[in-house]
């Protein structure tokens, strides 16, 4: 019996005709993309649509701040709120405010705000390292949502719908643009087995072809399910040899059926992926300086984990993945990482410690590699937090005005856009909703959000449904 290494295996090149249908069926489910390594054409996307507009960005890194970072403690300074801290809170009713108990008090930020960089953007001491790259950031302070519930907002942020089954923005982009690198999935989720509110639906391709759903890379342990061979190389080889003989006969008996041929080919690919995917996720070849810049050398396991994921994100976009999303680790039994109804000081600081350095390093690294120009970085939670509180060290859900930021990829750095009122309650200047952000992200990628449609259930579905406007004021 021959002894070949995994890498020497070649795909079948015999006289097997693979129909386009079977071919497209094969290209699915995340890492299944790799099945088509080496094939030049890419039929998995809507080439006929493109480009709608001149693209500024080619790819997106989405830093999902799950649970809702407090805007008034991070990027939206409210000196009057601090002045009135402890006083009874009264505000103009806003239908999007969470119904709250009586007796709430204003709660000033425990963090100090300063201006940073040449642009003089305000950032609190919660994010000391991000201040170093502040001139790249476009801080949007006038986000609004639909309902102050995590599940609703998280699904809205990802899919443009707060309940219905709809594709994630990563799936839309993967489908709309096709792959920059045919060897890789279009949408990778760097996750740590914490499932955000709204569930896997957040990352689902829904009615778009299954190949556009997020391919999951875990931070801890085995990065991709079933990627570590169960057998020694030789033993697996022996099994594959046995299968090859048997399967060939079966296929012949079935007249070379497409499905069987595809399935046979997948075994060759799968064998190869066992080496390729870990390589892609392996950051050990990065320099010590890079590792240290990201903070991968920090001792806390959550710190390491997030640093590792930011570094992997860079490696993935560098390799041509269109949309990489990173979730935050959930360190305590909060509903979600940033959901501090209590222990605001302790847990917000902890989450900031975990994410601050890697996020800053990611932007710096992208910039120094010339990638920031065409890589859009989006930092967003699904909501903000209330400027008022029923206690002294916690804030509740807030969607009538909150902050996100964008960087690179055709967005103007060092600017703020929109504003909330003096207490940080409601967006009063240029209020935006998530559909506007989606429209803008698609626009930067060269996609018109009104023309990126997919017919499903009798409708031409859009990421932005019937909403959304491109925020032109923040474009370069």
């Amino acid at each position: 019996m021959s002894r070949k290494s995994h890498l020497e295996l070649r795909p079948y090149t015999g006289n097997v005709s693979v129909s386009r249908r079977a071919w497209l069926q094969s290209c699915s489910l995340g890492w299944g993309w790799l099945a088509w390594q080496g094939l030049a054409a890419d039929e998995g996307f809507r080439a006929d649509l493109l480009p709608h507009v001149a693209p500024r960005a080619k790819r997106v890194i989405f830093l999902f701040m799950d649970g809702g970072v407090s805007h008034v403690d991070s990027f939206d300074p409210k000196p009057i709120l601090t002045e009135r801290s402890g006083q009874p809170a009264k505000w103009r009713p806003d239908t999007r405010s969470q119904a709250v108990s009586a007796g709430r008090k204003w709660l000033g930020s425990p963090w100090k705000f300063h201006q940073h960089g040449q642009s003089g953007l305000w950032v609190s001491s919660l994010f000391p390292r991000v201040t170093e790259v502040v001139d790249e950031l476009c801080v949007v302070r006038s986000m609004t949502g639909e309902t102050p519930l995590h599940g609703a907002q998280s699904l809205l942020l990802h899919t443009g719908r707060s309940i219905a089954a709809a594709p994630s923005i990563g799936s839309w982009i993967s489908w709309g643009l096709g792959r920059e690198n045919v060897q890789l999935p279009g949408y990778v989720l760097l996750n740590n087995d914490w499932i955000p509110n709204g569930g896997f639906q957040n990352f689902s391709s829904s009615f778009l072809p299954a190949m556009h759903q997020a391919a999951l890379v875990r931070a801890k342990g085995t990065p991709v399910d079933n990627i570590v061979p169960a057998d020694s190389r030789d033993l697996q080889q022996a099994k594959l040899e046995f299968l090859r003989g048997q399967d060939r006969q079966f296929s012949e008996r079935q007249g070379g059926a497409d499905e069987i041929e595809s399935s046979i080919r997948n075994y060759e690919t799968a064998a190869r992926m066992q080496t390729l995917v870990p390589d892609l996720c392996d950051v050990s070849k990065e320099t010590a300086a890079t590792l240290s810049m990201y903070g991968a050398d920090r001792t806390d396991s959550y710190d390491q984990l997030y640093a590792l994921q930011c570094l992997r994100a860079r490696r993935l976009v560098e390799a041509g993945v269109r949309f990489v999303e990173i979730t935050c680790p959930n360190t305590h039994s909060n509903n979600s990482p940033w959901d501090q109804h209590g222990e605001l000081k302790l847990r917000h600081a902890e989450n900031a410690r975990i994410t601050d350095q890697p996020v800053a390093a990611l932007i710096r690294d992208l910039k120094q590699r010339g990638l920031l120009d065409d890589t859009l970085v989006v930092w967003a939670g699904e909501m903000g937090r209330t400027p008022h509180s029923s206690g002294t060290d916690g804030r509740d859900h807030h969607v009538s005005g909150y902050t996100i930021w964008l960087a690179g990829g055709g967005v103007r750095g060092g600017m703020t856009f929109g504003a909330t009122d003096e207490m940080g309650m409601s967006a009063v200047e240029n209020p935006l909703d998530i559909h506007d952000v989606h429209a803008t992200i698609l626009h930067l990628l060269g996609l018109d959000h009104e023309r990126l449609t997919y017919r499903f259930g009798g409708r031409d579905m859009r990421l932005t449904d019937v909403h959304g406007r491109v925020i032109r004021d923040i474009l370069v």
């Binding site: 699915s28 087995d193 992926m273």
Partner: protein, 1135 residues
């Protein structure tokens, strides 16, 4: 009017020009007609563009200022009309290429009448309430106007506001043809009704064909006729081994048993196939397989997903119901009616389980993603739930995308927007409620025994108590009193317990005067304040209140009824005042009590005399909310008055829908609490508490009163102290006689409610002994009670539905926005299936809906189901789009066959098994999967069914096959779900890790959470259970190969199989390999195949350093062989 370069708009410009030039000039009242004659709106708009407008207008207006008496008119002409022309007329005028939302803004009557919503868009004098201005201001909840453009300038908006404030003077006369759009829609609608799938199926004659040696039955005639017409031949019949494997998978989802293989392969009689089919159809695994198909249709899950992933209350009972229904071949018509309105049908009793099957079925309506709570977004929440239900009803039963009409009339099918709201009114006149689904009471004889024991216990206790009350200081009564210290700081108030009277007796005894004054005050206060809402001491004292559960059904207690302790060292828990108590027999029996509807805008304060314990809940349930988070778990072990206010519904007020939400008060034990277990940690419920089945509550009376004026204890039980016993100076004796009289009445079954309270007081304070240690007779009786009570079978409960006492219509949501409501739509059927008689006011209509949908007059029901069955058997439907028989679906190539099957199905009594039997015995189904090359060229998509395509195992069939072939599969049916194996757990969502092999249970018993469905199954295309999936994706991916190569579950199954083989130990390597292949592939292997597997085993032994002599006993070696067999394509694909 057209201002933007818009291709579609060009013709509009031309038409506008022509029309305006030929007449229709506007006249301002009071203005000289001659001056006005040439002023057309088109000119204006053009001039606006060129900047001339204002100049002209100003010149003109200056010129006639003296003639214009009304400045407001000038203001309109100068400021308002140009803007309307420029920004609105394109879509909202008589000349609009397509009039949007039915709204005209080119005549006054247009905005007065409004658009499709039928309400004015400008309310003179009320700019803030004028929808048009709100739209122009881009306010939330209304569609921003003009669409897709920046907001008009603040100056313009201010001018509009001013104009509306000033009365919205508008000189533009003209009629709005009221029924225009309606008439167009009517004719359109009538045309749409001609669609093929809306015509009743007609039994056409079976076509005559020449290839009669091939055809076996009518189905084959239809197929053959089309094949002959195309000049094609069907494929050869599949070989017997293949046929058996195929039959076994489509009918049971499992490979054939070895015994069946042997039976079938050796049976050469002509009806061998029929016998096997009948055998498989009658196996319990048939129901499991077909239940799973239905679970795709109704998107079954065990949780509601979203944020907290709370459970769908005992959804697994619905899954078990499905298995039984398919196994019993319940007529499909009945099955469908049960899903929609099983709670309103005659119960269908399952004799084996004693369950009321029909009451379990409506759980179907609850499946889907649901938000937690009943918060400020109540409308949004209910809208989501309705949308999900309508979508499922439409797709599952009608093959129609009804949910489209949430926002607008269907673009192509005969469904209009009102249909959606007709249905939503019906569905939302339903309340989501957990129900006891036992059809027969399993506990009657046990309760008889318990009643007897309790009677004996009463007698024994009465004897003991009278002994404890005997005269003299040595009695228990006296001893307890003596041990109580005197109260030195006795206040002026009159006590309410025996011990408090005793404490006062020695320092500051209560006087008759004090007592009478206090009592009169209390009586007067009660008389002035209290209004009895419900009296549960009488069977008929609580009209409007509904209860459920064995606990409540058997819970009517007379005054002084004993609650026997189920544990501990006391004989009884308490003596009760008359009422209804869920735990009268056991805290394991369930209870649910629901009050009448309340007005949430008029808060009511009321007090309940009762008990609650062990996480029985007290809640205000808001209509449409599935998971009421106005729920508390008060702990009140002894009967006391507790006050609640049905208020604090602030967030439900001021919603756009001015109608108050319906609210009711509810008490529930855990198992009948719709929302139990609640989200993790809610109300301090621990996971251990969730698992404990006990909980209880009881109510005696409920009275309404003013806030701050709760019921006062009228102290009547203490009256004798100050009347017949007042002469007794010894307070110990005085109290003893008081209690003794009560015990005597109790013993003679003449106990009053005051006696019950007094005796309970005496028991709880230890004055009357109830310990087990002190009396053998008591101990024996209680032991006997406990032993008997442990046999009580608790209620089997499930999240079902119930009707509101009255139905309520819904309002149409304009463009589907619940913030923008239009007219009320009467509840009723969708228009394409008109109902003969209008609904009664008190009727939700759900039962009518069920009957109408499931009637033979519905042309879609049988067609859609017959097509689904065809799909499950053939891998594709006669209509490929199984969930859409409308214009966007595909039309069948064999409509006559579909009709034939649909009609035959109804004639056969809607029997799914007969339908399946007929199809799998047809020649077309039994064809080989090997297609003729020429036929493929002519018909590559197999529309004519010239072969029967090979199929990959579905996710469940694959996993179940792995279990079965390896010998790990259990034959256990039914029961609570099994947690799937997970990489990571998340306790906050109750996502725990189950055993890797799922305990050997079939896949449909694994817990399906919306948050994280089982990943192994998802890899093989088990659909995400959010909406109806008639057709699963079938993808072929490298991830699947990786799973079969490396997934720990697959490896564990290989290991298990190997252990079984090695333990068996018999035979040679060749014999073992042959058994393995035969078992996995359901056919005898060739010698070469056997040789190949043995070779692999030898290779494995060599690599593992195992001597050839030890190979047969080496589990690792045979695990490798088993693992390789699992990876064979022939294992995964069924020809």
């Amino acid at each position: 009017m057209i201002l933007r370069a818009h291709p579609r708009a060009e013709s509009g410009i031309l038409r506008v020009v022509v029309v305006r030039r030929t007449g229709c000039q506007q006249r301002l009242p009071g203005v000289d007609g001659a001056v006005m004659a040439s002023w057309s709106e088109r000119d204006l708009s053009r001039d606006v563009r060129t900047g001339w407008c204002s100049v002209l207008v100003i010149l003109f207006l200056c010129g006639c200022s003296s003639a214009c008496a009304d400045d407001r008119l000038l203001f309109f002409e100068q400021k308002i009309r140009p803007i309307l022309v420029q920004h609105c007329y394109q879509c909202h005028s008589a000349e609009s290429p397509e009039l949007q939302a039915g709204l005209r803004l080119d005549v006054r009557a247009g905005w007065q009448k409004g658009g499709d919503a039928g309400e004015p868009v400008i309310i003179p004098g009320e700019p803030a309430d004028s929808p048009l201005l709100r739209a122009m201001q881009h306010e939330r909840g209304v569609s921003a106007m003009p669409p897709d453009q920046p907001r008009l300038s603040a100056a313009v908006l201010a001018e509009f506001s001013q104009w509306i404030s000033d009365g919205a003077v508008d000189p533009r006369d003209g009629e709005v043809p009221r029924r225009d759009r309606q008439r167009e829609w009517e004719s359109e609608f009538q045309e749409r009704l001609d669609w093929w799938s809306l015509q009743g199926p007609v039994a056409v004659p079976v076509p005559v064909v020449t290839g009669s040696s091939w055809v076996r039955g009518p189905v084959d005639h239809f197929i053959m006729a089309k094949l002959e017409a195309a000049g094609l031949e069907p494929s050869a019949v599949a070989d017997r081994a293949t046929l058996l494997r195929r039959l076994s998978f489509v009918l049971t989802g499992l490979p054939p048993q070895l015994s069946l293989q042997q039976q079938f392969l050796s049976d050469v009689s002509p009806d061998a196939a029929e016998r096997v089919v009948d055998q498989l159809l009658s196996s319990p695994q048939f129901g499991e397989r077909w239940a799973r198909h239905w679970m795709d249709v109704v998107h079954y899950t065990d949780t509601h997903g979203y944020e907290w992933d709370v459970p769908v209350k005992h959804a697994w009972r619905y899954r078990d119901y499905l298995i039984r229904s398919f196994n019993q071949d319940v007529p499909y018509q009945r099955f469908v009616m049960e899903q929609i309105a099983g709670d309103l049908l005659e119960p269908r009793l399952d004799s084996e389980t004693g369950l009321n099957e029909s009451l379990i079925a409506p759980l179907m309506l609850r499946l889907g993603e649901r938000r937690h709570g009943d918060n400020s977004a109540a409308e949004g929440i209910s809208q989501e739930a309705v949308s999900s239900m309508v979508d499922t009803l439409g797709k599952a039963f009608l093959g129609t995308t009804l949910a489209c009409t949430q926002c607008h009339d269907h673009k192509l099918d005969a469904v209009e927007q009102r249909d959606y709201y007709s249905l939503s009114g019906m569905l939302m006149s339903t309340r989501f409620s957990s129900r006891t689904v036992d059809a027969v009471d399993p506990n009657v004889s046990i309760l008889e025994s318990l009643r007897e024991i309790r009677g004996q216990l009463c007698a024994v206790l009465a004897k003991r108590w009278l002994e404890a009350l005997r005269d003299g200081d040595s009695s228990t009564f006296a001893a307890v009193l003596q041990a109580v210290p005197a109260d030195q700081q006795a206040g002026p108030s009159v006590p309410a317990t025996l011990l408090d009277y005793w404490k006062r007796a020695r320092t500051n005894p209560v006087t008759g005067e004090q007592f009478r004054v206090e009592q009169q005050l209390r009586i007067a206060a009660n008389a002035a304040n209290l209004k009895v809402l419900a009296d549960f001491s009488r069977a008929d004292g609580a009209s409007g209140w509904q209860w459920d559960g064995f606990g409540m059904r058997h819970g009517l207690a007379a005054d002084g009824e004993l609650v026997v302790s189920e544990e501990g060292d006391r004989a009884i828990v308490q003596l009760l005042p008359a009422g209804r108590y869920s735990y009268l027999w056991s805290a394991r029996l369930a209870g649910l009590l629901q009050g009448p509807e309340m007005d949430p805008l008029q808060p009511v304060t009321f007090s309940v005399l009762g008990v609650t314990g062990k996480f029985a809940s007290q809640a205000f349930v808001v209509d449409r909310a599935l998971n009421p988070e106005r729920m508390q778990f008060p702990s009140r072990p002894q009967p006391v008055w507790s006050t609640v206010t049905a208020g604090q519904f602030d967030s439900l007020e001021g919603t756009v829908d001015a109608a108050a939400r319906r609210v009711y008060f509810e008490l529930a034990t855990k198992s009948l609490n719709n929302y139990f277990p609640p989200r993790v940690g809610y109300g301090g419920v621990s996971e251990a508490e969730c698992a404990d089945e006990r909980s209880w509550f009881g109510v005696s009376r409920i009275v309404q009163h003013a806030p701050g004026h709760p019921p006062q204890d009228e102290l009547r039980r203490f009256e004798p102290l100050f009347s017949e016993l007042s002469g007794e100076s010894d307070w110990q004796r005085r109290l003893r006689l008081l209690v003794q009289a009560a015990v005597l009445r109790w013993q003679q079954h003449q106990c009053t409610s005051e006696d019950a309270l007094l005796l309970n007081d005496a028991v709880q304070s230890g004055l009357l002994p109830v310990d087990l240690a002190g009396d053998a007779e008591t101990a024996d009786l209680v032991a006997s009670w406990r032993q008997t009570a442990s046999k009580l079978q608790p209620d089997r409960t499930v999240g079902s539905v119930a009707e509101w006492p009255e139905g309520r219509d819904d309002r149409l949501a304009i463009r589907g926005a619940y913030t923008d409501l239009g007219s009320t739509v009467p509840r009723g059927m969708v228009r394409m299936f008109p109902e003969d008689q209008p609904l009664n006011a008190g009727e939700s209509g759900r039962l009518r809906l069920a009957r109408r949908l499931a009637s033979e007059r519905n042309p879609l029901l049988s067609r859609v189901w017959v097509n689904r069955v065809w799909h499950y058997l053939f891998g594709a439907g006669l209509v490929r789009t199984t969930d859409d028989f409308g214009h966007l679906g595909e039309q069948p190539v064999h409509p006559e066959l579909l009709d034939y099957l649909a009609v035959q199905f109804m004639r056969d009594g809607w029997s799914t098994k007969r339908l399946i039997r007929g199809l799998v015995l047809s020649a077309v189904w039994q064809q080989s999967s090997l297609a003729d090359r020429r036929a493929i060229d002519v018909d590559p998509e197999n529309r004519l069914w010239h072969y029967r395509p090979l199929r990959r195992l579905e996710a469940e069939a694959l996993r179940d096959s792995l279990l079965m072939v390896s010998g790990r599969l259990t034959s256990e049916l039914y029961g609570p779900t099994v947690e799937p194996w997970r990489v990571a757990e998340d306790a906050s969502k109750r996502l725990f890790r189950g055993p890797l092999d799922g305990g050997g249970r079939r896949s449909l018993y694994l817990e399906m959470t919306l948050m994280e469905p089982p990943r192994f199954l998802a890899l093989f295309n088990q659909p995400l259970p959010k909406q109806t999936t008639g057709r699963r994706d079938v993808t072929t991916t490298a991830d699947q190969a990786l799973a079969l190569l490396n997934d720990p579950f697959v490896l564990e199954m290989a290991g298990h199989w190997s252990r079984m083989l090695v333990q068996d130990g018999s035979g040679t390597a060749e014999e073992r390999a042959a058994v393995m292949l035969s078992r996995a592939l359901s056919r005898p292997p060739s010698a070469a195949e056997v040789e190949g597997l043995v070779l692999l085993a030898r290779e494995s032994a060599q690599l593992r350093g195992i001597e050839p002599s030890g190979m047969m006993a080496a589990e690792a070696v045979w695990a490798d062989a088993a693992h390789a067999v699992f990876n064979l394509k022939e294992f995964l694909y069924v020809p």
